[in-house]
């Protein structure tokens, strides 16, 4: 499928650039870790309380780290009019959307893969066997974040106060994802598996499906020079 090929091509370009310049991934990783440190100092936890707060704190860290990645997302294209070149080319803009979303998704997943175990260590949490399930839920939530985030990042490209505006418009839209992911994670940590949080998971999946579809359909109109 042509869309897929184009997407992979654009994705490969971004990955190569990232490998060479290494600006986004390292910054995001260090920022995520820094936030964990700050949380530890800010909240004076009784050991049993930490497990309750863990999903929320993790997700706060991921949200802010992810926003950092989003503001960088189209940075490469802004230099040297690369974006104009991309748009003038016969590439399907839906492919650009998918590629950018995947790129940010990959960056965030890599960061989460490291930060989650780190969180477990720093906060002395139990239940290491639950991490795969938790990571799966985080994955779905991150997809939702990246989909909407990529659209909002593209849309605010030329706005003033962009670094403030992006989270301002993005976060309220993210509320279903935030609620669903944290509830799922809480249930997993409390009960060992998803149990009655299944409806939350379905909501999360629905969110992802709806906005990936919408994104592909309208990204055409979203991004202009």
């Amino acid at each position: 499928m042509d869309l897929l090929n184009q997407t992979l091509l654009l994705l490969w370009k971004d990955l190569l650039l990232e490998l060479r310049r290494r600006e986004s991934l390292l910054t995001m990783f260090f920022f995520g870790t820094l936030l964990l440190f700050v949380f530890h100092f800010s909240f004076d936890f009784a050991p049993d309380k930490v497990a309750e707060m863990a999903p929320a704190l993790l997700w706060l860290a991921f949200l802010f780290t992810g926003t950092l990645g989003l503001t960088q997302l189209f940075q490469v294209e802004r230099e040297n009019h690369c974006l104009d070149a991309l748009l003038l080319s016969p590439l399907d803009r839906g492919a650009l959307f998918l590629a950018k979303t995947f790129f940010n998704l990959l960056l965030m997943l890599l960061v989460e893969l490291v930060v989650m175990p780190l969180f477990w260590i720093l906060f002395n949490l139990q239940g290491w066997n639950l991490l795969p399930q938790l990571f799966l839920v985080t994955l779905l939530g991150t997809v939702g974040f990246c989909v909407l985030g990529t659209m909002m990042s593209a849309v605010t490209l030329r706005a003033r106060a962009r670094e403030l505006l992006l989270p301002l418009v993005l976060f309220p839209l993210m509320i279903p994802v935030i609620l669903a992911t944290i509830r799922c994670m809480e249930t997993i940590m409390r009960a060992g598996d998803l149990g009655d949080a299944w409806s939350w998971l379905r909501l999360l999946l629905g969110f992802d499906v709806i906005f990936v579809t919408v994104g592909i359909l309208i990204f055409d109109r979203v991004i202009e020079d």
């Binding site: 706005a159 418009v169 309220p172 279903p176 202009e224």
Partner: protein, 234 residues
């Protein structure tokens, strides 16, 4: 093209109708209607609250339609509609929150509660205030319109998802309480209370359309001014 007299007259009639409906609604809601058996006089705030939120939702629906049409056809009138409806929607949402809060004080004892309805309204306010800020922070008019249209579409599509998530959140973990903040005060409404409610809903909708027509015309004029300036700077 100058606005024709018939249009201005129609708007005037709309305004007059709105005023009459508002007056009747006020009279009926405050004087004719009996106080609620359980909530007392405070229940009369519902004659503002429900019409306000309905007006807000209708406004946001218009933002959605305008945004879709604008992204599709790129006609100025759709963008102006979306912008106008968003501004008025924010007005009614802010009012809804204020009314809900004031109603909540004697009912629940607090000025704010994170119950489903108030929370949802607050989120709506955040989304569409963000819409207005987005527009004002992008200097290029065309980009601003496209950007806003995207947010107008995504924001509206998100609303049902936000509804579900907030309701589940508030009802699954809320300990059973005597006051039951999640119980809508207009459920099981009695007939003498329904009439003023309906009148006020009509009044608010008329008001909405009147304000919208004014704001829309303002948007058209601003567009024309912008066109003039562009032409003459060349």
């Amino acid at each position: 093209m100058p606005v024709t007299q018939p249009l201005r007259r129609r708007r005037g009639i709309l305004g007059a109708l709105a005023l009459i409906a508002i007056a009747v609604g006020l009279y009926w809601g405050l004087i004719v209607a009996p106080p609620d058996a359980y909530q007392g006089e405070v229940q009369r705030i519902m004659y503002l609250h429900l019409p306000s939120i309905l007006a807000a939702y209708l406004s946001y629906f218009l933002v959605f339609i305008g945004s879709c049409m604008y992204l599709w056809k790129r006609e100025r009138r759709d963008d102006i509609l979306a912008h106008s409806a968003a501004e008025i929607g924010v007005l009614f949402t802010a009012l809804t929150i204020i009314e809900g809060s004031i109603w909540g004080r004697p009912t629940w004892g607090v000025w704010w509660a994170w119950d489903a309805r108030l929370t949802l309204t607050a989120i709506l306010l955040l989304i569409y205030t963000g819409y207005l800020m987005l527009r004002s922070l992008i200097d290029d008019e065309n980009r601003a319109s496209s950007a806003a249209a995207v947010l107008g579409i995504i924001g509206f599509l998100d609303i049902p998802l936000i509804h579900m998530s907030v309701y589940w959140w508030r009802t699954l973990h809320q300990p059973p309480s005597i006051l039951q903040p999640n119980k809508a005060p207009w459920e099981n409404i009695a007939w003498p209370l329904l009439i003023p409610l309906l009148i006020n809903i009509v009044a608010f909708l008329l008001l909405l359309f009147y304000l919208l027509s004014l704001r829309y015309r303002l948007g058209e004029m601003r567009d024309e001014i912008r066109m003039h300036r562009l032409e003459h700077s060349l």
